[in-house]
């Protein structure tokens, strides 16, 4: 057991330093193999206008190619469903439905996550400058939006992952408000 852990640690160290075959297209191709995934999450928002951070938790699910659902269970139940071009938001017993073209800023935000999940590099680079660091077992993908109005809402987004799993999504807006989301993928079906 110990030896095995050591080997993994060694691999991680190796991959973080030198990963000659680890490229963004390669990672994207690997992510594109995922058909569906489910996860639990905990999220912490640190905002300039608040004296304490806001915490929430719930579940995430993804189905290729374009279905993303975020269900917040605590502190209050909330559903965010992205299907194709349509967003359905349910909170306080009310349901709102709108299309991404009606909310271009939100479109940039959600496409960042969805295009990564789907391994769709052209779509991702339509909205963002991308920079990848680390290796297959522990990688970090940093996204910075091209568009100035999107940059107001989202200064950067950093996705952390291991293999074809995403483990953390961090983001910040122009004012410095930060959101940290820890993701624990439980079920995953690859092609």
């Amino acid at each position: 057991m110990r030896a095995k852990s050591l080997v993994i640690c060694g691999l991680i160290l190796l991959s973080a330093q030198t990963a000659p075959n680890f490229t963004l297209p390669g990672l994207m191709a690997q992510l594109a193999q995922v058909n569906s995934a489910s996860a639990s999450f905990t999220q912490t928002k640190t905002m300039a206008m608040l004296t304490t951070p806001l915490r929430s938790s719930g579940t995430l699910s993804y189905e290729a190619p374009d279905y993303v659902r975020k269900t917040t269970l605590a502190p209050e139940r909330q559903d965010f469903v992205l299907q194709g071009n349509t967003v359905t938001l349910t909170m306080n017993g009310q349901t709102k439905r709108f299309t991404l073209s009606q909310a271009p800023q939100l479109a940039g935000l959600v496409e960042g996550v969805r295009a990564t999940l789907a391994g769709d590099l052209p779509e991702l680079q339509r909205y963002y400058d991308t920079s990848l660091s680390g290796g297959p077992v522990h990688w970090q993908l940093l996204l910075r939006p091209h568009d100035a109005s999107l940059a107001k809402m989202l200064a950067w987004m950093n996705l952390t992952g291991s293999g074809d799993k995403i483990t953390e999504i961090d983001s910040a807006d122009a004012k410095g408000d930060e959101t940290k989301m820890l993701v624990n993928e439980t079920i995953l079906h690859a092609r």
Partner: protein, 774 residues
């Protein structure tokens, strides 16, 4: 010599006077002036909407036929060009700047616009609740958006507005700052002209500017050569209708006249005679215009176009005179012989058209006056002027044998009577079984525009989210402010009805522009800076907000307390457009027409409305108009027939003679009506006027048929004149039936068929049997 000429001088003087009237008359083209005068508030509101409202100024534009990027670029270039054109008051294409302009306006004036601006909302308890809601929102998936606005708008005045201003209509999709059709094959624009919708010349100029700017933009754009501009809207329809009408009327009247003149030329073989033959019609038309202008103060364009076809009968008068004139006799002797018949024929026609005087359709009353004055003048000219102008020794050389088909019918009178009576009985039976549904129920079908144009309009309206609603609330007040006050009182009522499910959404003018009193009350509800800060710091207690985060809120409230109140002129174009479509200034006051979503429980909605506010259903209004029209059409037919029967009875004295004339006429009308409706066709109001014309023209045939004695040559001349009259009528009206304009098509078809049937039935039933050995 002098005593021969005085009628000619009198006629010339009268024509000069009529011509002066005709030149000075007011001519109108509004369809509204042709329809019945509005009585109810609903009708007034609809009429205001049609004639002067903002809706009449809309142009709906779609651009397709190129790649999406080219279409988007083309749309943007066109919009920026049009924004510089003085013809357009508003150019909307979903671009970020005009959207941003509206958003900035709503944001800046949120405290004046929002119903949430109350003293309670700005109390300590109200502010505390608002902040708690805001905190929950920050934690949500919309937290990023909420964080942008919360420091300036903790009471969330703006978000509520975005929802209520959305109203019942849903706008088109936006792609890269341009409205896009759902299929993605076309980009869209919505324009409002500066000029009112009824100013057709100005509308045409605006459309020309649009087409010109589009061509210029397309030329400058690579890869857009195949792009196509399509436009619809009330102004486009009106201009197209006018153009189609002009083209059709000019082309077909020329063709119709040419047909009639050709037959006359064959019969008379004298250009002078043809010129003389047209004098009664021309004089009648002038007199008709003068009479209508005198009685009504204006002449409707439809009266003019339609009226001339109605007095086409006057051409027959000269045909009877010129064709029956014999070589040895002279025109004056002929006139002395045929005058009793001609006079009776004209009288019956005038009596028939008199029925139209009672119509509540202004246009029909005008047509009544026009045709009565026109026919009276025409028959007068035929009687007193024409015989004096016909050269001695004139006779219609080519007319001799023209009556042979009638003699053919006469020789087989028994057989023909048997056959035609059978046809008439079948027609009667068929019409009896047909029951209801004979009347044209779709008023739109009276429009001369092809269905494809109407379909395009429907499609573009749906894509732009300006589908004309079927149900409205309507009310009228003396002032704009009173009208807005009523609108404000309705807001909670309609909101409750919507929650109860009786109604599926609504739009009200006060949502866009609150009354001055309400704006003042909202401004008064805002506390002064010191009070607001004191209350706010209390409201913050127990909540994790930074105390200094809300500086923009204090600034904006202070600015709103001293800022100017909103007026219609201060609204950005999209909001002004929406307000104008609901609130119209008419000569009867300020009329509001507020569109409703689907009304599921009309009774509940009606019961909840305050007095003075009515629920108007477009379908119901059209149905009422239609019922009125059916009623009028029937009354017209019955009164006209009765008047003709009375005249015939007075002059012919015996029932036998009356029956001899009236029965063939009735049978011919019956068969014509059956033929027109049994093919699935519907009778329009214009056809009813056509039937009156059939009776007017046909009664002359029957009277001439019935008046024939044993005199062989006279009989042959008379038959020739009837035949020639009918040939001219069928030729002229047959050509009119080719028109795409429903009015002309209907009247042409009805009259050509009906008069031919009159000829047939007259020859078989009205004329005495052919002498055995002629």
């Amino acid at each position: 010599m002098r005593d021969r000429l005085w009628p000619i001088w009198l006629w010339l003087a009268a024509m000069l006077a009529c011509a002066l009237f005709a030149v000075r008359a007011h001519y109108r083209t509004d369809m509204g002036d042709f329809l019945p005068k509005a009585h109810s508030l609903g009708q007034t509101a609809l009429e205001a909407q049609v004639n002067g409202g903002g809706a009449a100024k809309l142009l709906l534009v779609s651009i397709d036929g190129a790649s999406a990027p080219a279409l988007e670029a083309l749309n943007k270039t066109l919009a920026s060009r049009l924004r510089k054109a003085p013809e357009f008051a508003a150019v909307l294409n979903g671009d970020d700047t005009s959207l941003a302009q509206t958003q900035a306006f709503v944001w800046k004036n949120r405290y004046l616009l929002s119903p949430g601006t109350t003293a309670q909302a700005f109390s300590v308890a109200g502010l505390h609740q608002a902040l708690k809601n805001g905190l929950a929102l920050l934690g949500s998936d919309l937290g990023g958006v909420a964080a942008q606005t919360l420091p300036a708008d903790p009471t969330d005045a703006a978000l509520g507005l975005a929802q209520s201003l959305g109203g019942t209509a849903s706008g088109p999709q936006t792609e890269n700052g341009v409205w896009m059709s759902p299929s993605g094959h076309a980009t869209l624009l919505l324009l409002r002209t500066q000029a009112p919708g009824f100013d057709l010349d100005a509308q045409q100029r605006a459309q020309a500017v649009l087409t010109r700017d589009f061509s210029a933009a397309r030329l400058a754009m690579p890869g857009a050569a195949a792009a196509r501009l399509r436009m619809t809207g009330p102004g486009v329809f009106a201009v197209q209708t006018r153009d189609v009408t002009k083209r059709d009327v000019t082309r077909l009247s020329l063709l119709a006249s040419a047909g009639a003149v050709l037959f006359l030329l064959l019969a008379y073989r004298s250009p002078l005679a043809i010129g003389l033959g047209l004098l009664p019609v021309a004089s009648g038309a002038l007199a008709g215009i003068a009479a209508v202008s005198l009685v009504f103060g204006f002449v409707h364009a439809i009266t003019l176009g339609f009226g001339v076809t109605l007095i086409g009968e006057a051409l027959d008068y000269s045909v009877y005179l010129l064709t029956q004139t014999r070589q040895e006799g002279g025109a004056r002797a002929t006139m002395a012989r045929i005058w009793p018949t001609l006079r009776l024929g004209a009288l019956t026609s005038i009596a028939g058209f008199a029925a139209m005087l009672g119509s509540s359709f202004t246009g029909f009353a005008q047509l009544g006056v026009f045709s009565m004055a026109g026919l009276a003048t025409a028959v007068g000219v035929t009687r007193f002027v024409l015989p004096r102008l016909v050269p001695d020794g004139f006779f219609a050389r080519g007319a001799a044998g023209i009556g042979w088909p009638l003699r053919w019918v006469q020789r087989r009178q028994r057989t023909m009577q048997f056959f035609l009576a059978g046809v008439a009985s079948l027609a009667l039976l068929a019409l009896g079984l047909h029951g209801g549904g004979m009347w044209q129920t779709d008023l739109l079908s009276l429009s001369p525009l092809p269905p494809a144009t109407q379909a395009l309009d429907k499609a573009l309206r749906a894509q732009l989210g300006i589908i004309p609603p079927h149900d409205f609330l309507a009310w009228r007040e003396g002032s704009e402010q009173q009208a807005l006050a009523v609108s404000e009182a309705l807001e909670p009522v309609l909101a409750k009805l919507t929650t109860q499910g009786a109604l599926n959404g609504f739009s009200l003018p006060s949502q866009i522009l609150p009354s001055r009193a309400t704006q003042q009350a909202r401004r008064a509800a805002l506390p002064d800076d010191a009070a607001l800060r004191a209350r706010f710091s209390k409201a913050l207690s127990g909540l994790p907000f930074q105390a200094d985060a809300f500086a923009p809120f204090f600034q904006d409230v202070a600015a709103a307390r001293t800022g100017p109140l909103l007026t219609p002129a201060s609204l950005p174009p999209p909001m002004a457009l929406k307000l104008q479509s609901m609130l119209t200034h008419t000569d009867k006051g300020w009329v509001v027409l507020a569109p409703l979503g689907t009304v599921k429980a009309p009774t509940a909605v009606r019961a909840a409305l305050p007095p003075g506010v009515v629920l108007v259903s477009l379908n119901r209004q059209s149905a009422l108009l239609l019922r009125l029209f059916e009623h009028e059409a029937e009354a017209l037919a019955i009164c006209g027939s009765l008047a003709i029967l009375v005249i015939l009875a007075v002059f012919l004295r015996t029932w036998r003679k009356v029956a001899r004339v009236a029965l063939p006429l009735g049978a011919a009308v019956l068969v014509a009506a059956a033929a027109l409706t049994l093919g699935g066709g519907k009778l329009s109001i214009f056809m009813v006027a056509g039937f009156l014309l059939i009776v007017a023209v046909g009664s002359n045939y029957c009277l001439f048929f019935a008046g024939q004695g044993e005199d062989g040559p006279a009989r042959e001349r008379a038959f020739a004149s009837i035949m020639l009259a009918n040939l001219c009528t069928v030729a002229a009206y047959g050509v009119l039936s080719l028109s795409v304009i429903p009015v002309l098509h209907d009247i042409g078809e009805t009259v050509a068929l009906g008069t031919f049937l009159c000829l047939l039935y007259g020859a078989a039933f009205a004329a005495p049997a052919e002498p055995r050995n002629p």
